[in-house]
Every structure is written in structure tokens, then in C-alpha cells.
């Protein structure tokens, strides 16, 4: 009986669709272009959030309290999925805001014309590297690539926390190191790109480094958090990984330590407004709000990440962009050359 039922429902669906389509045309008028910033923000906004679960609830509650705008959040701690989802949804956008994830995930959306440019007055003081020139996305937090180590395993192997990425080539690391897979994870790729920038874009030198490192690596791990899990669970002594996630794990397992080797890479966490938003004023209010020192400080507290605002202090034990020595990381170049570099790397370590 169910195929019948199925068909009946389907026909019903088609019927109602036809009715709605025929009378819907008249009622949907395109919204008037907003002048930005002036309209009072009210109502609800729908947020696609790549932030951690633990951050979402408190951060958005604070936003609602500050502005009165209600929030529907679609949480998915995977910026690539959200980027793809916004692309696939372009026929009828369901998000007003895309928040979280490195700017690499926002930038292509802007280039495809799927973002609503907005230059927040709060962003004027930000450094140029923290925002997109035409206002497609704005950077509001930073994440630094560091190194997670397990004190017990480090002692056992007679290892010291690395101060430079070159330290990882020490033979003592052999079999004690894991790395997020550069092909499968953004973090693993940032690690390779960091090496290239560290050697002044001398790709041959960088690949030579990766090749030597390969002999020390016990396993390449499919996700970045899982690599931290390997170290935390004493299955490896150390792994390059995101500093903020390492600090989060350290709170649960005191054997976990964080260090930041010099010449490291970083990400700029972005926020953007999705084109086709039904509540532009509310969306702009959100962008303005995450760029306030209060929101920045709250995010630091909840996620251990840094803020792009000068005045916001970092989390206890967390490195800041000012303290660590960064490579000259060219985000655009890293994105554009991804396929080629990964192929070079696969050849270098002999899996191609």
C-alpha cells in the first residue's frame, strides 16, 4: 500500500506546488536594497556556524542579549561543508550569516558573488590582512598552528618541545610523530604551505623537508582533532596542530602540552553575510557585534582562539600573533597552488 501512498503524496505535493507557484509569483517582491547600518536590527537571523559546539550557544545568546535579534543556528564544525552548502543552496539561500572557519572558506564564495559585501564601521581599525578589500568577509578571530605533545611520551623518547619545525627532523622523533593528513585536512595542508613560505617559496627545499619528516612520521591522521586525540591518548608523542584545540584538550588531559615553533602559519577566522539574506539589518548587526571587544573577549574565553582586535587579551596560555614568529603566509597563493603542491608532496614522500 505504501507505493500507492507514496504516489498519492507525491501527486498532492505536485498539486500544491502548482498552486503555490501560480499565486506565489505576485507576492514575492524583491527586497529594496539596503543602505546599511542605519536600519534598526530586529527579527531573526539564520547563522551557519563552523565554530565549536561549546562556543556557539553562549556566543549567540550574548548576541541576542546585546541586540535583541533572535538567532537560528545551524552548527556544523566543518567550514568546507558549510561553504559547499551555501554554494549548493544559492537558488534559495537559507543562511543570513556564515561565521567561523578560515577566510579561505569564505573567499571563494565572495568571488562567486554569493556574499553580500559589508564594510562594518567596526572593521575600519583592522589590519588589511584581516579583511577582504571589498567587504565580502571580515576576520574577527585568529588561530595559530602549533604543536601538541604528550609529556609522558616525550620523556620516554627523550624529546624536547620543538622550537623550530626543523627540530622535528631529529631522529628521536622517528615513530613518535603523527601529522594531520595534508590531503584530507586543511590543517595538514597549512603545515606544508607553511614550510614552503618558511623556505622563501623554494619548493624543492620544502619538499626535501617534508620527505625527511616523512621518515619520522608514524601515521597521517584523517582529521585534525583525531591527531590531537592520538597524542592525548599516548599513541604518539607529538603532532603539529591548532593551538586553540590543543589548549581545549589540555584542560581535559594534563599530560597534553602546547608549544609553538617559530615560523609557523595561522588562520584568520571570518564572518560574512550571505547574498539573498532576508534580514540584512540583522545580519549587519551580527557582523558589527562580533567585532566588538566584548564579543572578541567572549570568543577568546570560549574557544582559546585569538581576536583580530588589538585590545582583546588572549586566553591564558594561548600564544598571540604578536608573540610568535609567523611565516609570511600568502593565503591566496596557498589556495591557488593547492593541487600542484599536494601532488609535489605526494611525489616527494613516494606515494605517487
Amino acid at each position: 500500500m505504501t507505493p500507492e501512498l507514496d504516489r498519492r503524496n507525491f501527486l498532492k505535493l505536485v498539486g500544491v506546488t502548482a498552486i503555490v507557484a501560480s499565486c506565489g509569483g505576485a507576492s514575492t517582491a524583491s527586497p529594496a536594497p539596503s543602505t546599511g547600518g542605519t536600519a534598526k536590527a530586529t527579527g531573526r537571523i539564520s547563522i551557519y556556524s563552523a565554530l565549536n559546539e561549546s562556543t556557539n550557544n553562549q556566543l549567540f545568546a550574548a548576541f541576542t542579549q546585546a541586540t535583541g535579534v533572535q538567532v537560528d543556528v545551524l552548527p556544523l564544525a566543518a567550514a568546507g561543508e558549510l561553504q559547499t552548502r551555501i554554494t549548493a543552496e544559492k537558488a534559495s539561500p537559507k543562511a543570513d550569516i556564515f561565521v567561523g572557519g578560515s577566510s579561505e572558506f569564505h573567499d571563494p564564495l565572495g568571488k562567486q558573488g554569493l556574499l553580500e559585501p559589508y564594510k562594518s564601521p567596526k572593521a575600519s581599525a583592522l589590519k588589511a590582512e584581516f579583511k577582504e578589500a571589498s567587504g565580502n568577509w571580515t576576520g574577527w578571530y585568529t588561530g595559530i598552528f602549533g604543536m601538541v605533545t604528550n609529556s609522558g611520551e616525550m620523556t620516554k623518547a627523550g624529546l624536547k618541545a620543538p622550537t623550530s619545525w626543523d627540530d622535528l627532523l631529529d631522529a628521536k622523533w622517528k615513530g613518535n610523530l603523527v601529522l594531520p593528513d595534508p590531503v584530507k585536512t586543511g590543517g595538514g595542508y597549512i603545515f606544508i604551505a607553511t614550510q614552503i613560505f618558511r623556505f622563501n617559496r623554494d619548493e624543492a627545499k620544502a619538499m626535501d623537508y617534508m620527505k625527511k619528516l616523512h621518515t619520522n612520521i608514524r601515521a597521517y591522521i584523517g582529521t585534525s582533532p583525531a591527531a590531537i586525540g592520538e597524542v592525548s591518548g599516548a599513541k604518539a608523542a607529538g603532532a603539529p596542530n591548532w593551538a586553540h584545540d590543543i589548549l581545549t584538550e589540555k584542560a581535559k588531559n594534563p599530560a597534553v602540552d602546547l608549544s609553538v615553533p617559530s615560523d609557523t602559519g595561522f588562520e584568520v577566522g571570518a564572518v560574512s553575510i550571505v547574498k539573498g539574506t532576508k534580514n540584512l539589518a540583522g545580519a549587519q548587526a551580527f557582523v558589527d557585534w562580533v567585532l566588538t571587544p566584548e564579543a572578541g573577549a567572549l570568543n577568546v574565553k570560549l574557544s582559546n582562539r585569538g581576536s583580530t582586535l588589538e585590545g582583546v587579551a588572549s586566553a591564558p596560555g594561548a600564544p598571540t600573533l604578536a608573540q610568535v614568529k609567523l611565516v609570511n603566509y600568502d593565503r591566496q597563493w596557498a589556495t591557488d597552488n593547492k593541487d600542484r603542491i599536494l601532488k609535489l608532496w605526494q611525489q616527494a614522500v613516494g606515494i605517487q
Binding site: 500500500m1 505504501t2 507505493p3 507514496d6 504516489r7 507525491f10 505535493l13 500544491v16 506546488t17 503555490v20 565549536n52 559546539e53 537560528d72 545551524l74 552548527p75 556544523l76 564544525a77 566543518a78 567550514a79 568546507g80 561543508e81 561553504q83 559547499t84 552548502r85 549548493a88 537558488a91 534559495s92 537559507k94 579561505e104 572558506f105 571563494p108 593528513d181 590531503v183 584530507k184 585536512t185 586543511g186 595538514g188 595542508y189 608514524r218 601515521a219 597521517y220 584523517g222 582529521t223 582533532p225 583525531a226 586525540g229 592525548s232 591518548g233 599516548a234 599513541k235 581545549t248 581535559k252 599530560a255 593547492k338 593541487d339 599536494l342 601532488k343 605526494q346 614522500v349 606515494i351
Partner: protein, 540 residues
């Protein structure tokens, strides 16, 4: 063809099935297939990053399919033929590996058998490297043997005991009967099992993602292109390669079948018991199944302990805080959504698959081979692309009034059709047409013949379709990840969030809740269905 002209209702039903398949299988997938565009395919193919994953995919598929089908056959034989005890328990164990939400179960294997694994290191003092082909192979064998087991058991249970009795009476040894009667007669089930298992292994993403190490297969490559780089067009190109491989497997299966007849159920009723297998074989079956059950229970036991301890395995303090978390906020809604979506999808999918299987197997209309392939194809589509296809195709302004739950249920229905369809098709090939013909000569319409005669005899196939769809729907992440909205969040989405938050205890507790819910639901369904499915079950 003649019957189609005589029976407009049958023609209408056939057209409805074709339209539904075109609309909900083909159309969304075309959306994915055309996404890269010609230049996108060209630059991706030239890039060559797909070569190694392709080789790995072929290697892993060949290895895991062989062992999974072998294990599935042994398990099915033990369940159907031997007189071993605890069959109800083993039946449940045979479904359990299907109940593995992404990441968490594979992570549990790592905890047990990794280089610091509780078994490998704790008990045996060994530090094997669990990453690579061997790790994927081992876990996929356990994870996918249930497909083979269910399909083969369904076919074996319908094979005619009289032929085996006759062979035994003529003096053949049990061994010879097995090789010359039982095995050849189970060929449709075996072929279906190999094809289905191979396609599901080919599409598997979770196990290679967690256990692959440097070994990238096509689905993990596609997934990482989206997840790590937001490169949707290259990912869609990978998906097209997967579909072509599935087409190759399908053609191979057709060759394997060779169009022979496997009819074992004819008009006359068979009430003859199966010839007894030697007692020693029954015992061997029991011990083998017990060993497998022990392994599977160990994995799920690890999960349960993880859920009940503070931070397994380095802080073993007992706690219920993870379960308290599962009960907070909107988490209950997620579990409820999972239950409703999965049950609805399973019911629709099982019946639709059975009906479609009958139309394809019994019909003589042109193009049925194509429909046959289209109904198997979804197995080869990684869930993530099935989801993206649905989102691209049906997230339209004029469809915005439709509740998202419908889209999720439809996606679950059509993504999970292959197993139920394969079961029905394999089953139908064992049932003599003369049974239906008897009904139609007595004046029944073909549709009536299907519903009153064929359907009751295919209770087993219906059950396979229902259980597999339900269980896969409960545990799928990739399919819903692009379709869920805040009110339609499901359990696996929450688990994924917790895994990403490094909250292993919470993820384990949520997984335990999800799996328990599914088991309770299956038991209730089995109880409710007892009255109605009795005809199908009686044959088993």
C-alpha cells in the same frame, strides 16, 4: 507488453516508479554530475590526483568484498542450515555492525587494536600500525559482512529442501550436496551480495577516513576536497568516477548471472525439513559465530565503557555526565528526528524496492535493464553527494514551503533502495512464475497477483529492505549533513559535532543512545510485524 496494455493500472504503476526514480535518483545526481563542467573535468583529469585513490579504491574493494562476502556466506549458512543454538542472538549480532555511526565505531577499533590498543598493546604487548590498507580491510570486513549475510541468508532460506534431500538420498555426502546443490542454487543471492557489498565498500568513507593513514580512496578524496578545501567541482568529478566504477561492477554482475534460472519455489508446497548437517559442523558454526560475536561485542562494549567513564582510556572514573549531556537541550529532538525519519524511510523504501523489484524482474518491457541499474546506482553514490544533489535540485524558492523533513526522508528512501531491491530481485528469481500465472488465470490482475501472492512469499526480502534501510538511516551522517536544518537535526550530526569538539565521552554516549534506540525500535518492529510477516518468516 501485452499485459501492460491490458492493465492500465499496471502501466500507471510502472510509469509512477519510473518517474519517481528519474526525479529522486537521476535528476539530483545529474545536478552533481554537471557541476564541474567540461573544463572542470578536463583540468581535474589532467591534474592526475585521482590515480592513486582510484588504485587504492579498487584494491580495497577487491579485498574487503572477498572477505566480507565469505564471512557473510559462512554466517548465513550457519544461521540457515546448522542446528546451532542462540540463533536469535546471532541474528542481532549480524545486524549490529551496520549500526555504526561514522567515526565513533572505527575509533573504538583503534582503541582496541591500535598501536597502544587495549588488546594489541595491553594484552599482547604489540604495537601494530593500524593505519593503511590492512586496517581498512579488517574493519570493512566486519562492517560490511552484514549486507552479504542478509542477502545470502534470505536466498538460502528460500532454497528448496527437497533438492538437497533428493541428493542426500541418492548417496551424496553433505559436502558434495553443499558444492553441487546448495551453492549453485544460491547464486542469485551470492551475485547480489557481491555486487552490493562491493558497491558499498567502494562508497565507504568513514573507515578509510579514520584508518587510511596515507591511503586515500576515492570517497575520502572527494570528502576531503569539500571538507578541507571547499573544492566542490573536483569532488563532484570524483563522484562521477565512482559512478562509472559502479557501472562496471554492475556489468560484471550481469555477466556473472548468465541469465540462468534459479527457480526453487514452484507451485507445489514444500514442507520437507532440510537434511540435517553433521553435529560437528553445527558446533563449528556455533564457535565461529561466537568468536565473531565476541569481537563485535568487544567493540561496542568499548563504546559503552567510553560513554560511562570520565575520559576513556586515561581517566576511568565512572560518570553519567555524558548521558546527562545527551538528555539536555535539543538533543532529545535530534534522537526523535532520527527515529521518525528512519522508520518512515525504511517502510517506504522496503515496499517501494519490493514493488520495483517485481516490476523489473517480471516485466517484459523495454528499458528494464536501465531501471535495474538505476535502482542499484544509489549504493555507489557517496551520501554526501546524494545530499548535495538533493539540496541543489530541490532547494528552490518555489519549494520553500515543503518541510525539510520530507526531503530528508525521500533522500533516505532512495539512497537505501539498493539492498531491498537486490533482495527482492534475488528472491523473485527463485519463485516460479507459474504461481502468479495461476492467480492471473483465475482472473486476478497482475497487481493483485503481486500483492496477494508474491509479496507474502517475499516477506524475507521485505524485512531485509526494511531493516537495512532503517539501520543505515539511523547511522548516516554524510547524507543528512547537507540537508538538515536546526529543527531537523539528527543524532549523527550531534555526534559529529562532539567528535569535532574532542568530546570522545559525549560522542560515545550519544552513539550508545542512538544505537540503543535503533535496537529497541527494531525489536518493537519485529514484534509488531510478527502477525503480518509470518508467511515470509515461516519459510526461514
Amino acid at each position: 507488453m501485452r499485459s501492460l496494455r491490458r492493465e492500465p493500472a499496471l502501466l500507471l504503476a510502472l510509469l509512477a516508479v519510473i518517474v519517481l526514480v528519474l526525479l529522486f535518483v537521476v535528476y539530483p545526481q545529474v545536478q552533481v554530475g554537471v557541476a564541474p563542467g567540461f573544463s572542470g573535468y578536463l583540468s581535474f583529469l589532467e591534474g592526475g590526483t585521482w590515480r592513486i585513490p582510484l588504485q587504492n579504491s579498487l584494491k580495497v574493494t577487491a579485498l574487503s568484498t572477498t572477505t566480507a562476502v565469505l564471512l557473510g556466506f559462512v554466517y548465513a549458512y550457519a544461521m540457515v542450515y546448522s542446528q546451532m543454538r542462540w540463533k536469535a542472538f546471532f541474528n542481532l549480532i549480524g545486524i549490529l555492525p551496520l549500526l555504526s555511526p561514522p567515526f565513533v565505531v572505527a575509533a573504538s577499533y583503534l582503541l582496541l587494536f591500535g598501536n597502544r590498543g587495549i588488546i594489541t598493546y595491553g594484552v599482547f604487548g604489540q604495537s601494530p600500525n593500524p593505519y593503511g590498507i590492512t586496517g581498512i580491510w579488517g574493519v570493512q570486513t566486519i562492517a560490511f559482512f552484514p549486507f552479504a549475510y542478509q542477502l545470502i541468508a534470505d536466498v538460502l532460506s528460500r532454497s528448496d529442501a527437497r533438492m538437497e534431500q533428493a541428493a542426500r538420498n541418492l548417496g551424496a555426502s553433505p559436502w558434495r550436496v553443499f558444492w553441487t546443490v546448495t551453492l549453485p542454487l544460491s547464486r542469485p543471492g551470492l551475485a547480489a551480495a557481491i555486487l552490493t557489498t562491493a558497491i558499498y565498500v567502494l562508497e565507504d568513507f568513514g573507515n578509510p577516513q579514520l584508518l587510511g593513514g596515507l591511503v586515500t580512496v576515492l570517497p575520502t578524496q572527494a570528502y576531503s576536497l569539500i571538507s578541507g578545501f571547499g573544492d566542490y567541482t573536483s569532488a563532484a568529478a570524483v563522484c562521477t568516477i565512482l559512478l562509472l566504477l559502479a557501472l562496471g561492477l554492475y556489468v560484471a554482475k550481469i555477466r556473472l548471472d548468465g541469465g540462468r534460472s534459479f527457480v526453487t519455489i514452484s507451485g507445489r508446497a514444500s514442507s520437507m525439513p532440510r537434511p540435517p548437517v553433521p553435529a560437528a559442523l553445527s558446533w563449528a558454526c556455533f564457535v565461529g559465530c561466537l568468536a565473531l560475536a565476541g569481537l563485535i561485542l568487544l567493540v561496542y562494549g568499548t563504546l559503552l565503557v567510553s560513554a560511562l567513564t570520565f575520559a576513556f582510556p586515561y581517566n576511568l572514573r565512572l560518570t553519567i555526565e555524558h548521558f546527562q549531556y545527551v538528555a539536555t537541550g535539543s538533543n532529545g529532538d535530534a534522537l526523535r528526528n532520527t527515529l521518525f525519519f528512519s522508520a518512515a524511510a525504511a517502510a517506504i523504501s522496503a515496499v517501494f524496492a519490493l514493488f520495483a523489484g517485481w516490476l523489473v524482474q517480471r516485466g517484459e518491457w523495454p528499458g528494464r535493464r536501465l531501471l535495474d541499474f538505476l535502482l542499484i546506482m544509489p549504493a555507489a553514490i557517496p551520501g554526501i553527494f546524494f545530499g548535495i544533489g538533493y539540496l541543489t535540485a530541490f532547494n528552490q524558492p518555489w519549494l520553500d514551503w515543503v518541510d525539510r523533513s520530507w526531503l530528508i526522508v525521500l533522500a533516505l528512501v532512495f539512497w537505501n533502495i539498493p539492498v531491498g531491491y537486490q533482495a527482492a530481485a534475488a528472491g523473485l528469481r527463485q519463485i516460479d512464475r507459474s504461481i502468479e500465472e495461476a492467480a492471473t488465470s483465475l482472473g486476478a490482475s497482475k497487481l493483485r497477483g503481486f500483492w496477494d501472492v508474491v509479496r507474502p512469499m517475499l516477506g524475507g526480502s521485505l524485512r531485509v529492505g526494511f531493516v537495512t534501510t532503517f539501520v543505515r538511516a539511523v547511522t548516516t551522517l554524510s547524507l543528512v549533513i547537507f540537508l538538515f536544518t536546526p529543527p531537523t537535526t539528527v543524532a549523527t550530526i550531534r555526534i559529529y559535532q562532539l567528535v569535532n569538539d574532542l568530546d570522545w565521552g559525549g560522542a560515545a554516549a550519544f552513539t550508545v543512545a542512538d544505537i540503543s534506540l535503533a535496537i529497541v525500535a527494531l525489536v518493537v518492529f519485529a514484534f509488531l510485524a510478527r502477525g503480518r510477516l509470518v508467511l515470509g518468516a515461516a519459510r526461514a
